[in-house]
Subunit: 218 residues, 2 copies
Amino acid sequence: MKTHTESEENYIKALYHLGGDQPVSNGDLAQRIGAKGSSVTQAVKRLGQKDLVNVVPYKGVQLTQQGIRLAKSILRKHRLWETFLVDKLGFGWDEVHPLAEQLEHIQSEELVDRLFKFLGSPKHDPHGDPIPERDGQMPPVLGQPIGAFTTGAEIRIVRVEDAGTEFFDQLETMNINLGNTYEIRAISAFDSSVELGSSTGSFWLSQSMCANIYAIQS
Amino acid sequence: MKTHTESEENYIKALYHLGGDQPVSNGDLAQRIGAKGSSVTQAVKRLGQKDLVNVVPYKGVQLTQQGIRLAKSILRKHRLWETFLVDKLGFGWDEVHPLAEQLEHIQSEELVDRLFKFLGSPKHDPHGDPIPERDGQMPPVLGQPIGAFTTGAEIRIVRVEDAGTEFFDQLETMNINLGNTYEIRAISAFDSSVELGSSTGSFWLSQSMCANIYAIQS
DNA sequence: CTTTTATTTTAGGCAAAGCTAAAAATTATT
DNA sequence: AATAATTTTTAGCTTTGCCTAAAATAAAAG
């Protein structure tokens, strides 16, 4: 596997995020990358010459098989580094993303493999997102939004959306962490907020909080 | 502290390595960086505009105080990452340098501080080289070449020069590691090789091996 | 089914970093 | 001290990657 520039890798990542294997528009890509459309046009042309994407002018860009493989390998690195930063260095959920964006560009298969082992061969990162395996396989995406359960259900938090600093702060102050278990005590018919109960008491979660927190029945 | 390009940081590192706070010639710098003299002329001009170096055309380039501070912070990161790779991920001595060259460019004070603590606040890296402290202070450079001791001395290996893969391989096969203790049994008057003894037996070390292995009296 | 609007591409510029080849300055040698 | 040899700089070119402004195309609206 050849070596790519950081910019190239960022485009691949963005493409994967926005469309997976589906075509993505120039505009959406530009927005995601934070560059102007004209820059994107050029960039994807370069990617096309390396067979990482297929470009249909005026129509959209689509990752090739090779592009998808690269995207997954970057995502793997990103999520492994996030795991490292949280589990080993004690960073908070909301702090790790920008750091992982730098670390994900480090080139070394060997390093990734060793890091993976060092972290205990994790299947999911600290947010509960699946970490692609070496061969590109994806572990399952866990859970469903808390609002999707019914009263009386026993649930365990398994994943949270990356919905920004304020969201993570709120989780922190409410002491909500992956692995926590609760009982669904009530669901408001008025505003869809949910009452969660545990051994230490109970509290209400707003609908928008619930929408970003995923759980499984336990 | 502003953010610098990788290229800039590489020049600063090279400058520090070659001259410390002393002027360095264009040629030496070019050789170290692996670029042509003309590229170096341009590069140092850019560094000069950022007050990282003082340039005297046709005479040489010299790090400023600010440049030295930056150089040390990069070296700190380099050696902390090397420590991480060896101590935590189990890499061998000779494998870590190129990886650390990538990792040393990651920008985050916070990350460095946490990594430092995670590694047990080390003063020296896996080769025994001093790790600059946060404030730029340098721990002592340890030991003297094995050839500098006299017969009968009890010594402990504290540092090895980065003298290439073959050297490290030789250390490996001879099972020589930092912390090992030996007695100087004999020094050849013919070729300056040295006989080292331990509880498990004794062996001879060539003069050029000795020159790259540093020890202290223990 | 045109015309207006929105999106995308082209054209031309700029900065970082590298290169080669030629000119200038320094150092070394008669 | 004058010339030869070496080193350094300048000049001009290349690629990546971004920009703005203008032209071209596609999509939406009348």
